[in-house]
């Protein structure tokens, strides 16, 4: 039962964060939220008896992906900066 509640909470958080990720005006917040969704998903994976997946999701899904996002965002902002 406890796991059900935990997973439900995780699910709600993920859904909320994903809505934030999509609807928040600031792109940085959006990217971070998406990374957060990934991170929580990896916890969910642990609950689902998938440690391998959890590890991968954490390292790749939330880690590297978010990082590349920021890299690109940074780059784009610099473009803008140069423009102005």
């Amino acid at each position: 039962m406890i796991w059900i509640i935990i997973s439900a909470v995780l699910g709600v958080v993920m859904i909320t964060m994903s809505v934030v990720a999509i609807h928040h005006k600031k792109i940085t917040i959006a990217i971070l939220s998406a990374g957060g969704v990934s991170l929580i998903a990896s916890i969910l994976y642990l609950l689902l008896a998938a440690p391998d997946v959890a590890l991968t999701e954490a390292a790749i899904g939330s880690g590297l992906t978010t990082f590349i996002f920021f890299y690109v965002l940074n780059k784009i902002k610099k473009h803008k900066h140069v423009e102005e």
Binding site: A41, L44, A50, I60, G61, L73
Partner: protein, 123 residues
């Protein structure tokens, strides 16, 4: 309520994430946001995949104890979907990275991140 378990909840979450991702891809104008939506879509998919392999009250398919090594089939969850998710995550990374580079290049071309500005080829 008897039947409701972590797998149904996770499955529902997976579907909802999937739908939110598609919603974002269809409605957001900012290219980066579209890509963000895409990653959420992928995450939803991955959750669904993992759920498909899940069997209640069974352990991860890692036979690190001798107890697990006998009658294994009754004790572990399905390893195959997990293997698939692994692949799917990596593919997702490759696609996302490429999409981001596309976004970068598009921005370089028109100094805009609005998807509506990229309608040069049509009809």
């Amino acid at each position: 309520m008897q039947n409701i378990g972590i797998e149904q909840i996770s499955l529902a979450v997976g579907f909802i994430l999937l739908l939110i991702g598609i919603w974002g891809m269809l409605s957001q104008k900012n290219i980066l946001k579209i890509i963000v939506s895409f990653t959420i879509f992928e995450t939803g998919l991955n959750v669904i995949l993992v759920v498909i392999g899940y069997i209640r009250n069974k352990t991860a398919p890692i036979l690190d104890t001798t107890e697990l090594q006998t009658n294994t089939a009754e004790k572990i969850v399905d390893p195959i979907p997990q293997a698939l998710v692994l692949t799917s995550i990596v593919i997702g990374l490759g696609v996302t990275a490429l999409l981001l580079v596309y976004a970068l290049k598009m921005h370089k071309e028109k100094k805009s991140l609005l998807i509506n500005d990229y309608k040069d080829t049509k009809w």
